[in-house]
Every structure is written in C-alpha cells, then in structure tokens.
C-alpha cells in the first residue's frame, strides 16, 4: 500500500491512499512524521548542504512501513508512507514521485479559483496522484 499526503501549516490539504481503507491509522503516523520534518528543516546539527535540499529522504523506518518527506520553499510538506514489504521502490523513484506531487501542487496554487489553505479538490491533481500510485504499487 501507499499513502500520499500534502500538508500546509500543520493540517492536511490532501490525503490519498491505495487501498482506500484504513486511512485513519496513518493519520497518526503522518502526524508524528511532521515532527521529524520540523526537526530536519530546523537543521539541528546538520551540514549546510543537506539543509538546502527540498527532498528530506527517509524520515524514519518502523517495522511495518517507511515514511518519506519533502518540504517546498513555501513550507508545504509532502509525506509518502510505503509498506516495508515494498522493497522495489528505490530512492530516486520516491524522489520523482515527490517531484510530480510538487509540480501538480504548483499548478493547483496557480489556479485563481483555488484558495490557499483549502482542501485540494482538483481533478488534475487527483489523476496525477492516481497514476503515480498505480505505477508504484
């Protein structure tokens, strides 16, 4: 399974999972992963080069799943939760997933009918995420 979340100012704008049941238990995981994201971007004891990257990499592995993070310059956080058994997903594939998410999110932001802070209801965004998740699973 696979879950994608977009978060702005600590509340989610978009949550999507494959399969669609059992989303609730991942809310907790995503919430705790936000703490890790905060820690990483505040750069406690990290080399300067790492701080400037948008992709945060593996946030923390638990026994059941792996959590990856990405923060945009506009402080929007993307989190992807992947099943630990899914070992076929490599780092650069996760990176490209985040890139696609960021690109679609930028399009949503530029839509004059979208109000920043509202939940994302764009069909285009949905279809990009669907294709991406189907490819990954």
């Amino acid at each position: 399974f696979l879950i994608c979340v977009a978060i702005r100012a600590n509340y989610p704008l978009y949550i999507r999972s494959v399969p669609t049941q059992g989303e609730l238990k991942f809310h907790y995981t995503v919430h705790t992963s936000l703490d890790v994201v905060e820690e990483k971007i505040s750069g406690v004891g990290k080399a300067l080069a790492d701080q400037r990257e948008l992709y945060l990499g593996l946030l923390y592995p638990t026994e059941d799943y792996k959590v990856y993070g990405y923060v945009t310059n506009s402080k929007v956080k993307f989190v992807i939760v992947v099943d630990s058994s899914n070992t076929s997903l490599r780092d650069n594939e996760i990176r490209s997933m985040f890139r696609k998410l960021h690109n679609s999110f930028t399009d949503v932001m530029c839509n004059p009918f979208y109000n920043p802070g509202d939940p994302i209801q764009s069909k285009a965004f949905d279809s990009i995420v669907s294709t991406m998740m189907v490819q990954a699973c």
Binding site: I41, Q51, R52, E53, L54, V71, T72, N73, S74, K75, H102, N103, F105, T106, M109, C110, N111, P112, P116
Partner: protein
Amino acid sequence: MEDGRMRVKCNFSGDQKFLENGRCVSKLESMGFRVGQGLIERFTKDTPRFKDELDVMKFICKDFWTSVFKKQIDNLRTNHQGIYVLQDNKFRLLTHLSAGKQYLEHAPKFLAFTCGLVRGALSNLGVKSIVTAEVSVMPACKFQVMIQKM
C-alpha cells in the same frame, strides 16, 4: 443659496471618488497578493531552500523581480531589524507615465498590485509583512517591506 447647494453636491462626489479610489487600491493589492502566492510557488519550485530572511529578500530583488519585470531591483537597504527598502530606479509600470513629477498623484494606482505581489510572495515563503510604496520622482520608486514578527 444655489451655490451652497452645488458646493455640497461637489463635496459629496469628491468624497465618494476618494472612497472608491481607496477601495480600488486595496482590491488591487489583494489581487496582487494572491498572484504573488502562486508566482512564488512556481519560481521556487526548483530552487534550494532559503537560509534566512535576507536570502528571501535577495531572491525577491533578483530572481523574482527579473521574472516579473525583466530587471532586478537596483538597490536593497535594510536596518537589519525587519525593515527593507527596495529601490527600483526605472520601475516598468511607471516608465510610460512620466519622467518627473507629472502625474505623481496617479502613481499609487499602479503600485498597489506590485505591493500585493511582494506581500503575497513573502507570505508564501513564511514571511508576514506589510508592503508600501512611495514615489517622489518617476519612474523611480521605493518599496518598503516591514516584516511582522508572528
């Protein structure tokens, strides 16, 4: 008597015009705000993360200004306590208006949108601010950014 009545009429429409102007200027500013938010999302998509507030302001002065106005800000000054003054000596929206003091009173209309643009861009980068503009001799103008501590 007639003169008196006419004078009252004129005053009223003068105030109305003043109010309308004020409403239009703030509407323009808020439109600029929303556009600034979207633009900054697109412009910072591939840039590395900003180090600090000064880094953000430099980005606005160089990359952002170049993408929108095809030139950079000519001078950036700061008091290092949250106030920045961005000086553009040949502001693109004023160059065709006049080259001196003529039409100075009309300048605010053309600056409102840009003030909103800067405020929106900064807001999406996590910086809350108040942006105002002043013109003394066209086409040069100064944008003053006051950072609000959240």
